[in-house]
């Protein structure tokens, strides 16, 4: 009861009142007694007569294994290829063919299980899941329903409170299991001729299904969890996990209930093609269910599709209410046995053995470890390292700049995250497509460090560099005359001129109002067109004013 609410997110649906026949119950310790509506507006429950809702979100994620050949056959795995050219007789389900397990796929699943803190089952089994669809030529999918390869893990991820990067909170979602299974082919619907065209290139490609327990409570949490999983898979190399290429597919299970009551009927939402749509689809479905129930309706245990154009979920055609998959053991495959250093048999063929410990020792640094190392090594903030890892190639760019400049990493990070990244986002460019290379940026930052230009001037140079016309920072500085004034005498004269021209301000400063000094500094900057070192200017002004 209180447990359900407290495990929920700290954001939008947080609430503390429990409505019942006995009237409102005092809030659990520490929580203010308010309810939040879907968009974060505070709503007093008594005012609108609403009882609060606890949304529950679980995810089923299918990640395509990054391998040369398929899970049970030797045909190639490739995203773009002529239709039905990457299909073996087994993939087409021709009689007399048998599945032969790909060792690389087993290793990928073990790596992923270990990275997600799972127990890897030393003995796992394969099963057949039966259903009819044109892109499943055998009429069944080989999967692991009874005993999957890994179980009982966890994934930690971060969410921002109130959209503030500086207030990040760590959440955990439990991983129920990871199983190996076959992908299906692709159907292209030709409505004009009332037919479906089938391409079996994808049929039989290895998938890891990662099942996440319903520990999430909103779209933001779901998207953050999937993003972290994506980064982990890409770091491991077990899947390239690019959603746009169908290498990572997410189905969301959504339900709502009142605190203290049992879980509500859940719907499954499919056809979600990006992290952004995942958050939208989940939030829409939560809202739809709440509205339906508050209007006295009921929720059907159905499968719905997310319509990205309309931003809503709709019931799916062709999906009957209750499917009976008639699971049975896959008779052509013995149990999959994995070993560790203790159980390793003495004279077994090396190539036939998958050693869990061997794989564990060779796991690369996971994103969470990489972030911690960046914070420690460079003295940057945790939310900085979060952004560095979140943008493909940005960490490398940052580290390259740091090695090529004298500027401290703590200062460099500001230029990377505020200036470079915002330019990239504005122009929808990836780090790799940046017209400003790490070499150029380091060059620019060095000019600041050597006090040849001010930071304000540097920003101007950066916007010029962005045009990608091949000029160096120094070229632009000379062209636009942005060098800091090095001649102390010249600066003194300008300071004196400003002092002479601002009698009232000078009097105010001498009377004790130090803040007015900033106005004088500003005037000097204007006179010099931003070419004065502000620290030096302040010193000079203070010296003159104390005379």
């Amino acid at each position: 009861m209180a447990a359900a609410a407290s495990r929920g997110c700290g954001g939008v649906w947080r609430f503390a009142w429990q409505r019942g026949a006995r009237g409102p119950v005092p809030a659990p310790r520490g929580q203010r007694a308010v309810a939040f509506n879907a968009r974060g507006g505070v709503v007093q429950p008594e005012k609108c007569g609403l009882a609060p809702w606890v949304p529950v979100v679980g995810l089923e994620i299918h990640a395509q294994i990054s391998s040369n050949s398929k899970l049970f056959s030797g045909s190639q795995v490739q995203f773009v290829a002529p239709p039905n050219s990457l299909v073996s007789f087994f993939d087409a389900s021709l009689p007399g063919t048998l599945p032969v397990l790909n060792r690389r796929c087993v290793e990928a699943a073990v790596m992923t299980g270990l990275a997600l803190n799972c127990s890897v089952n030393k003995k796992s089994l394969f099963d057949r899941k039966h259903y009819f669809y044109a892109d499943l030529p055998a009429g069944y999918q080989i999967t692991q329903q009874r005993v999957p390869i890994a179980v009982n893990g966890s994934l930690s991820y971060s969410v921002c409170i109130d959209n503030k990067m500086s207030q990040m909170v760590t959440k955990t979602v439990r991983i129920k299991q990871i199983q190996l299974e076959q992908d299906s082919g692709k159907s292209l619907h030709d409505d004009t001729r009332s037919q479906t065209l089938i391409d079996l290139n994808r049929a039989g490609v290895g998938l890891m299904e990662v099942v996440m327990e319903p520990d999430m409570c909103c779209g933001e949490e779901a998207a953050a969890a999937v993003r972290e999983l994506q980064l982990i898979l890409q770091t491991l190399g077990s899947s390239q996990a690019v959603m746009a290429e169908g290498q990572l597919r997410v189905d969301a299970n959504v339900s709502v209930h009142h605190p203290g009551e049992p879980y509500g009927v859940r719907t499954e939402v499919k056809n979600i093609n990006s992290l952004r749509f995942l958050a939208k689809a989940v939030d829409y479905e939560i809202q739809r269910q709440i509205e339906e129930l508050e209007n006295g309706g009921t929720i059907l245990n159905e499968t719905r599709a997310f319509d990205s154009k309309l931003g809503c979920t709709v019931p799916m055609r062709d999906k009957e209410a209750k499917q009976d998959y008639r699971f049975m053991p896959e008779p052509n495959l013995p149990p999959l046995i994995l070993y560790d250093t203790k159980s390793l048999p003495a004279n077994m063929n090396h190539q036939q053995v998958v050693n869990i410990d061997w794989i564990h020792e060779r796991l690369p640094d996971l994103p969470s470890v990489k972030r911690a190392k960046l914070v420690e090594q460079y003295g940057i903030l945790p939310e900085h390292s979060f952004t560095l890892l979140n943008e493909d190639g940005l960490t490398e760019f940052f580290e390259n700049v740091v090695t090529q400049t004298q500027m401290k990493p703590k200062k460099v990070i500001g230029w990377i995250l505020k200036d470079l990244l915002s330019y990239l986002k504005q122009h929808s460019l990836t780090v790799k497509e940046s017209p400003v290379s790490s070499f150029l940026l380091a060059d620019l930052l060095n000019l600041i460090e050597k006090k040849e230009i001010s930071s304000t001037a540097a920003k101007q140079v950066l916007s010029e560099l962005w045009k990608g016309e091949g000029k160096t920072p120094l070229d632009i500085v000379k062209e636009k005359k942005l060098e800091l004034i090095q001649d102390q005498k010249e600066l003194e004269e300008i300071c004196q001129a400003v002092i002479d021209g601002q009698e009232n301000e000078v009097m105010a400063i001498k009377a004790g109002n130090r803040k007015v000094l900033n106005k004088l500094i500003g005037l000097v900057q204007r006179e010099t067109q931003g070419r004065a070192n502000p620290v030096l200017v302040k010193q000079l002004l203070e010296k003159k004013l104390s005379e």
């Binding site: 039905n84 050219s85 397990l101 999959l336």
Partner: protein
């Protein structure tokens, strides 16, 4: 016990078999009776065997591309094709519902 009409209908939907006449249903009944003999064996405290291969070693293949590229051969058996695609009906064609079926099934 006899197989009910609901069970028959459910099986027909799942397996796309057709128990169109009473002989078919009779054969199904006999098959179930035959399989039921397994219940006569005392299996208390015995681990179920789900594959005669359970003591075999599951062979692991190297991740090499050794098959595929045989579209023409695969297409030889296709009744209908469009360019290099297999052709299928627009979706699963739903079987008639129980109420719509012939009366004879309900009387058997």
């Amino acid at each position: 016990q006899t197989v009910t009409v609901e069970v028959l209908d459910h099986l027909e939907h799942l397996a796309l078999v057709d128990f169109r006449d009473s002989e078919g249903v009779e054969r199904l009944q006999k098959a179930i009776q035959f399989a039921d003999q397994l219940h006569e064996v005392n299996t208390d405290g015995i681990e179920p065997m789900d594959s005669v291969l359970e003591d075999r070693c599951l062979y692991l293949r190297d991740d090499d591309v050794t098959e595929g590229n045989c579209m023409k051969e695969l297409m030889k058996n296709a009744r209908e094709k469009v360019e290099e695609y297999f052709v299928a009906p627009p979706g699963n064609i739903p079987l008639p519902k129980l109420e719509e079926q012939d009366a004879f099934l309900q009387s058997s």
